[in-house]
């Protein structure tokens, strides 16, 4: 009997089937069977409703397998609070998205109306100043968290093989966050916004060869004009948030697919079982 050809396995990863991810005890219990038939009371029908709905959706999406792998995946020993910074950054982005949508309901991206509309939000709208403040300070929080997350990844060596691509995606997310900060800074349209944007656009203009064209592209012309503000507004609330959302999806997919790395102080002998070589 010919033996199976041996595939190269440089990392010596166990190719046998991995055990199913651990589930919390509450999810391990088998749900009670749904009562059916003519003599089912209203109470029994209501009690089985949740199970029926979940089963109906799961039968049509097979989502439970995906969720089990995504939510209850194994993490290496030594995982600690530093590993929550990515989630924290994503939460800051979600907070920015929600507060941004509510600000957009009141904001008018017209050079003669923008400042007045934000004055209205801050002084007259119920909780307007608070939501505006959350968006303004949340931008800083998101940027700071992003940098701390990046520092954690760097110091822990979590960018190394096979996670290099996730580092690249993360750097693009960093750049997109910078674009959000730059374009959002103009929108209140006060003196600080206006002159900071003048300086920022001219900074882009100092780039060799492409700089002058980049500055014209950002302003939508050779001077700060009628469409500059709406251009920044469209980039800030439609183009870049969409890109960030898609990239966060790719970032999370790679995290779930590749798993997280153990902290650098964990020795292979401290890490049990299948994670030993990963």
């Amino acid at each position: 009997m010919p033996s199976k050809p041996k595939l190269p396995n440089p990392l010596n990863i166990k190719t046998s089937k991995l055990p199913k991810p651990p589930l919390p005890p509450a999810l391990k219990r088998t749900p009670k069977p749904v009562e059916t038939g003519d003599d089912v009371t209203l109470g029994q029908a209501a009690a089985g409703g949740g199970t029926s709905v979940v089963a109906w959706i799961d039968e049509r999406t097979a989502g439970s397998g995906f969720l089990r792998g995504f939510m209850f995946r194994k993490v290496p020993k030594g995982t600690n609070w530093w590993y929550t910074l990515g989630s924290a950054t994503m939460f800051a982005f979600v907070s920015q998205a929600v507060t941004g949508i509510f600000l957009a309901m009141f904001y008018d991206p017209n050079p003669t109306q923008a400042y007045e509309s934000m004055r209205h939000v801050n002084n007259e709208v119920f909780l307007g100043e608070f939501v505006h403040g959350m968006h303004k300070w949340g931008a800083t929080v998101m940027t700071v968290l992003l940098f701390v997350h990046m520092a954690r990844t760097f110091v822990f060596g979590a960018y190394k093989y096979p996670r290099e691509l996730n580092w690249v995606v993360g750097v693009i997310l960093l750049m997109m966050t910078m674009v959000m900060g730059f374009t959002g800074y103009l929108l209140p349209f006060d003196q600080r916004s206006f002159w900071a944007t003048v300086v920022g656009v001219n900074l882009n203009g100092t780039g060799p060869i492409v700089g002058p064209y980049l500055a014209d592209f950002l302003r939508g012309g050779s001077e700060f004009g009628a469409t500059t503000l709406s251009r920044f507004y469209a980039v800030h609330m439609m183009l870049v948030p969409g890109i960030i959302g898609a990239l966060i999806g790719a970032h999370l997919y790679l995290v779930a697919k590749l798993g997280t790395s153990a902290p650098p102080w964990m020795k292979p002998k401290d890490v049990a079982g299948d994670e030993k070589q990963i």
Binding site: P111, L203, T206, P212, D216, S222, G225
Partner: protein, 215 residues
């Protein structure tokens, strides 16, 4: 009798033993349909993608509209000794953001390079575009942002600016002073095409900062 290698190299699908091959065909149906589907997708994407790209990039190549001459005052309002601040509207319809401040004085000694009857200095700093202010006691223009300083003619005397302050053309009609287009000047105060703040117009540096295609 053709060899096996010849058969593999043949342009006819039948010779190469492809599934779905026809006698005398060089392309299978699957290959043809794949090409059609890719081509149709490409055409459909280009149909919205190219106009959208052009729409976004168009302003780079659009010609700067020539603004009408702006009346900034009587010839009696200005002299050759000091600058008088004047606010003009460079972009209409956008309120305060479309206004800019100029400093104007009489050009007591017009030269071939500077034939304008009045000197109208732009307050846009040649470093990064902050508004400069004329300080009479120092007979200098000072930028509040990064400390750029300019002499009475607008030439750089200190700080990070890369060229003198921009100027505007001026004309006199019926005893009134009118301001025209913005233009940039090099370190010799010679007129060059209008540039953004921060762009060099002297020496080898200017190669890195091409002028707009349309101005």
């Amino acid at each position: 009798m053709p060899s096996e290698t010849d058969k593999k190299k043949s342009k006819y699908t039948a010779d190469r033993g492809w599934p779905g091959a026809f006698e005398g065909e060089t392309l299978t149906r699957r290959g043809f349909m794949t090409g059609v589907a890719m081509g149709a997708g490409g055409v459909a994407s280009a149909m919205f993608g190219l106009p959208a790209l052009g729409f976004a990039l168009g302003p780079i190549f659009s010609k700067t509209e020539h603004r009408a001459l702006l009346d900034v005052g009587s010839t009696d309002d200005f002299d050759g000794e000091t600058y008088v601040p004047v606010v003009i509207t460079t972009t209409a319809g956008i309120g305060q953001a479309g206004k800019t401040l100029l400093y104007i004085r009489e050009n007591s000694k017009p030269t071939k390079k500077q034939p304008w009857p009045y000197v109208a200095i732009s307050t846009r700093c040649a470093h990064l575009g902050c508004p400069v202010r004329y300080i009479e006691a120092a007979r200098s223009f000072i930028c509040p942002c990064h400390g750029g300083t300019y002499d009475f003619e607008g030439g750089v005397t200190g700080g990070p600016p890369v060229r003198p302050l921009d100027r505007f053309t001026t004309v006199v009609k019926n005893g009134r002073v009118y301001v025209g287009e913005r233009f940039s000047v090099n370190s010799q105060l010679e007129r060059v095409s209008t540039r953004d703040a921060g762009e060099h117009v002297d020496g080898l540096w200017q190669i890195l900062y091409p002028p707009r295609p349309t101005t």
